[in-house]
Point group: C2
Chain length 194, copies 2
């Protein structure tokens, strides 16, 4: 199972942020622009001068720790971890003074589920990247990470993997991205758990 | 700068554990056996039936978040993160019932230093891997991670990068590995901070 349940989330985020900002929606196959986050060249042509980068995508593979393949591990490393880190690195020169970066982890950095070892590892790595990068970003840039639990919109597809996890609406998660973009904090993990 | 300051640590660990156990010392170029942790085939021929795996090595690159190269990021991902995860995966079939696995992270998962973003990211990933893997390891296996601060023995080489960090003796860090190997806990981060 390879998942990107936060694509729904990304839509809620962009709708909320579009109330106050000009939002450039970037997807793998659709949006105002498209990008393959595995491909650095594709990332680097993406940016004009912007005030904020919000990344709410990235895949990880799910399997047991004994059954996960080398390729399964590479999915999370290349997509959700280095995809977000590479977007961050590429965006820095294009972000305006006091701009912001917001990445996405997920509740599996705090809690474990069956088959979730890679997701926990990758989400944790993203959060630690954000905490460390916040200490040395140039131009007064801020960086935070939103850690959502299971989304209500994802329950039909993923709910069975999250027994007892109380889902939250995508619109609630979107508020955390708004807090990161419009607020003053940096190096924070904004947890949206049910 | 690419570092493996914990090689000294590994020596202290093996000396302490050798008081109570038959220790097979495995290094990149020296020891009872040698292994290249980047090379899965090299790892898989390593194990006989054992009671405990202790990993106290793994490289990460140090540089600013704006200057770190793609290759620099891959050092930590391939060596300290996937090197330790691959050793864990390879050891599982060879570990005896109720055996243990002990990995190594480092204080940079909790605190940040200049040039330390990759180290913070990788150390955090190792800790989250351990917490999640502990929930689903077979055969009653335990897994923990030791997070040392700067070692006294590493001060001449690395002290300048850790201003105000109080170093600890390698022998003190070695006790945390002993606690992990001989104790009953699993999924723990044993922090040895000054």
């Amino acid at each position: 199972m390879t998942s990107s349940p936060r694509l729904i989330n990304a839509l809620a985020v962009s709708e909320l942020l579009a109330q106050d900002h000009d939002v450039i929606r970037v997807g793998h196959t659709q949006g105002d622009a498209t990008v393959d986050i595995h491909d650095k060249a594709s990332i680097e042509v993406l940016f004009a001068k912007i005030d904020a980068l919000v990344v709410a995508t990235g895949n990880v593979a799910f399997n047991s720790v004994t059954q996960m393949s080398d390729e399964g591990w590479q999915v999370g490393l290349n997509s959700k971890l280095m995809g977000q880190i590479n977007l961050t690195r590429a965006a820095i020169p294009y972000l305006n003074e006091k701009g912001s970066i917001t990445l996405t982890s997920g509740i599996l950095s705090d809690e474990s589920i069956n088959w979730g070892t890679s997701a926990s590892t990758i989400n944790g790595a993203v959060e630690h990247f954000v905490k460390a990068a916040a200490c040395e970003l140039p131009k007064g840039l801020r960086i935070n990470v939103v850690s959502p639990t299971l989304l209500e919109e994802s329950v039909p597809k993923y709910g069975v993997f999250f027994p007892g996890f109380v889902p939250v609406p995508g619109a609630t998660v979107a508020q955390a991205y708004k807090k990161s973009v419009q607020g003053v904090q940096t190096g924070q993990i904004f947890k949206v758990f049910g």
